[in-house]
């Protein structure tokens, strides 16, 4: 049995693949939560529109189940939005169990990102683009 101290509370950075997947799922959930509030939709109603059960939605929100692409695609349709994806460099953090290419011995420099910032995931309104007016000759 491991002894827990107040310092163990600090060890909260998602380390395992599962933890990271959970956080990635939570980024989408956060956006879905915001959209639900915008449209005043309850979990039950969302479940109905997505064709799932309310308990499944709760499991997604709690991180017990991870979001899948099909649910995301249906969510886009329900709210009339499109999820925008952007990959950004983050500062490399030493991880347990994962080795960088450099540590594996490929002779290249250590990977370090210039920015530690992460941008929030945004759902963009799915409105058709306005066509440009034709130029007069």
């Amino acid at each position: 049995m491991s002894i827990k101290t107040i310092h163990t509370l600090y060890e909260s950075e998602p380390v395992s693949g599962r933890d990271r997947a959970e956080m990635l799922s939570f980024r989408f959930i956060s956006e879905i939560d915001r959209l639900m509030e915008r449209d005043d939709i309850s979990k039950k109603e969302l479940a109905l529109r997505l064709g799932t059960s309310a308990s499944y939605i709760t499991q997604l929100f709690r991180g017990d189940k991870l979001l899948n692409m099909e649910i995301l695609a249906r969510t886009e349709l329900v709210f009339g939005v499109r999820f925008c994806i952007e990959a950004q460099k983050v500062q490399a953090v030493p991880e347990k169990g994962l080795r960088t290419k450099n540590e594996a011995g490929n002779g290249r420099g250590r990977y370090t990102g210039s920015s530690g910032k992460t941008k929030p995931l945004l759902a963009r309104e799915d409105t058709p683009r306005k066509s440009r007016p034709a130029k007069k000759k």
């Binding site: 827990k4 107040i6 163990t8 509370l9 600090y10 909260s12 998602p14 933890d19 959970e22 956080m23 939570f26 980024r27 959930i29 956060s30 939560d33 915001r34 709760t58 929100f61 709690r62 991180g63 500062q91 530690g116 910032k117 992460t118 929030p120």
Partner: protein, 133 residues
């Protein structure tokens, strides 16, 4: 009546923009609770959500008690048959967001908040002034 309170820092995001603290006077009840098996994992999830500035009303939401409970939020611990809450006060200073875990309430049984707890939440929201050192 303003009550001056001190806090203990227990976690913060990488850029020190979100700080998670515990009310020092109630730390005796809150910290051992957070260290229990099951609760610790749930708390880790909540902290990661807060530190990334994400929303998740399943874990953390505004406490709609009354107009007196200003800036009060609740952390929900519902795993393994629990239905516990930690009432938190949010303080914003510049670009920093301080989340102070102020009061633990174990075993929520009904939709309504008991009058005693409601009074406590209102008191924290209205009268507590936190000191960050």
């Amino acid at each position: 009546m303003t009550l001056y309170r001190t806090t203990i820092l227990i976690d913060r995001c990488r850029h020190f923009k979100t700080l998670i603290l515990v009310d020092a006077e109630n730390a005796d009840s809150i910290i051992p609770y957070l260290m229990q098996d099951g609760v610790d994992n749930e708390f880790k999830r909540i902290r990661n959500i807060l530190k990334e500035n994400l929303r998740n009303r399943e874990y953390y939401c505004k406490c709609e008690v009354s107009g007196k409970a200003r800036d009060m939020f609740e952390m929900r611990f519902t795993g393994q048959g629990r239905n516990d809450r930690i009432y938190c006060k949010e303080v914003h200073a510049g670009n920093k967001r301080c989340i102070i875990l102020a009061e633990l309430f174990e075993g929520k049984k009904s939709q309504d908040i008991p009058a005693r707890i409601k009074g406590r939440i209102e008191n924290i929201g209205r009268n507590y002034l936190y000191n960050f050192k």
